[in-house]
Symmetry: D3
Subunit: 140 residues, 6 copies
């Protein structure tokens, strides 16, 4: 029994289930892929990823999930060193009702706070996500 499994009893199940549902609501297929990619190297980290960010933080009632995703797209664009996660959350923002035009506005605004290169690379990530969506027939 691994360390994370050891702590996975009683009410921790609640956090895990709540987190998994939230992950699927927001990140959809992209989130599932991230979790699967961890299976071979750090399965405990997959559990922690579901429990803390999604079970503890995203599940808090004090801020709507639309605002949360706008915050994440802004932060990851500004940091500029996490392209795979930025793409997952651009899709996540679309999944919870942020429009493509709004995603583009959030990223453009980062030119002011983190510079034009950060915004340009954020727009490149958005272009990839929008194009992938088009291929699978989802609406713009």
């Amino acid at each position: 029994m691994t360390n994370a499994q050891a702590s996975h009893n009683g009410n921790d199940n609640l956090r895990y289930e709540r987190g998994l549902a939230k992950l699927q609501q927001i990140d959809g297929e992209g989130g599932v892929k991230v979790v699967e990619s961890l299976a071979g190297i750090a399965p405990d980290f997959a559990r922690l990823l579901i429990e803390f960010p999604f079970g503890d933080i995203y599940s808090r009632p004090g801020l709507d999930v639309r605002s949360r995703e706008i915050a994440v797209v802004a932060a990851l664009t500004a940091m500029g060193n996490a392209a795979p996660q930025l793409k997952v959350h651009i899709q996540g923002a679309l999944n919870v009702g942020v429009t493509r035009a709004e995603v583009v506005e959030v990223i453009m605004q980062m030119a002011v706070y983190a510079g034009f290169p950060a915004a340009l690379n954020g727009l490149a990530a958005a272009r990839e996500v929008f194009a992938a969506e088009a291929l699978v027939g989802e609406p713009a």
Copy 2:
């Protein structure tokens, strides 16, 4: 006539006036202080600050100003190297209707994306802004 003054004719006046109004709406006294602090060292930069971030970006209709301020508080918390500007924009978020509790949620969420130190320092900035507001009798 400085370089920036030279370009300050015709329709550029529109951008400047529009930007100044936006700066005052969002950042209030904090924004005015930033502009004043530039007078002695880089007056042209004060003009550019009003024209581009506020006249060009914040004035765009595609995203509500509440979402814009949530994005900025998130980004500056995550970057972690711009405490003065973070404080101005925490106040800016409050000015446009984001509640204190929502500001705290946005900052807490950055623990997931930029680490706990970034979130802790963001919360310390929020505590200062909230305390300063209390002193001048503004509502919570």
Copy 3:
């Protein structure tokens, strides 16, 4: 009952108690102060800080706590934007048996990976921590 309190039942108590003990072992007084500073603004975040970093991560058996603190001092020195947390963890490293000379070596090495300014600012943080220790009569 706050959101964090709501989730604080059953086996979550275990994570919290385990995390609190770990926080006290590693960060000592510095950690307690961080938790107390959150009481007025984000009490739920204090609980999450104890549960996830200390209850979930630091409590894992796969890496000795001495190596964990070396890793944290290195990372915070390299990031260069979290001086308060760096000081807490320099003290934390000393608390778990890393010597002052070793702390200095870790920080010096960051000159190679994050530049000389990061290392110089890390050494300034260490100087403050060492001086504060001397005042309260702790051994070098």
Copy 4:
């Protein structure tokens, strides 16, 4: 008529024309490609990119363009999270008379301020730019 087009009247034409000329002088083909890449996703951002960085900042008379490009190559190497833009500006530096040897010196110096990995990745970017130049028969 988009928002950016709406503001594109009177003397704003001057900023745009001045910026476009500057972009072509410095970044050449690389700059044109960046602008074109924005056409499908954020055409307004293409205009803002020409107007503010190039029309407002690069066109200022207070600093020669050679020094400006040295500053940009240094900053993007040190930040380490904007490889595409670093490549455009390494070419830009060459375009305005900085020699290859000088570009290499600027990047090497960043080992001191941002660490050896930043400098190594900057040199890798320079190697790509120099190699691409060789293919199209431009002088060293």
Copy 5:
């Protein structure tokens, strides 16, 4: 005679030889490849890379090389903008006796200090390094 060659006399030979031995001990084939990649563009930088990081810093007796590599893996994971160097040092950590499980623990811990995206990208780098090792028949 280049500038670096000019300084390469007398006791500087000692630093160079000491550094080269250290580079080979820690980074192995990965380190040699980095040095070779510099031959065409910045040969002096190859010498400086051997002399300062390896001849001056890694050769210092005050901290064991295992702890040094843990520090470097932590820092590069947290910075998140130097994937090639992170991979070289994950292999370097394995070369000096850090286990795969310990490397994974160090990277997971960075989720606390630099955010989950930094840790996820660090784990992706580790997965690549571990997989490459498996191909050439090295033990786990």
Copy 6:
């Protein structure tokens, strides 16, 4: 005899002497203070600081020292997490003939590449340096 002293024989003296002269030329009193501040905590690092950045890098003939200081002011402004070193190098830039107006231009340009907060904080650093110079009667 410390480790650094042990390596301080023969031609290493040359690097040290050359570096010390360069440090004094560029950073003047500010550089001397940095070295002195290290005496109590990491005297070896003071020697390495003189030998590598100043003895090895700044002393290279391939780039004029004026361009080197412009590069450093740009990089430290963009990184935004090393205010003490930025101030030393703003003074350093002035010491080697960069004018105050040019320093301001370099910092303003960083608004494009690292965002307005980075530029605003860089200008605040410049204002402090210029004010301190005025107090001791140095020319603008």
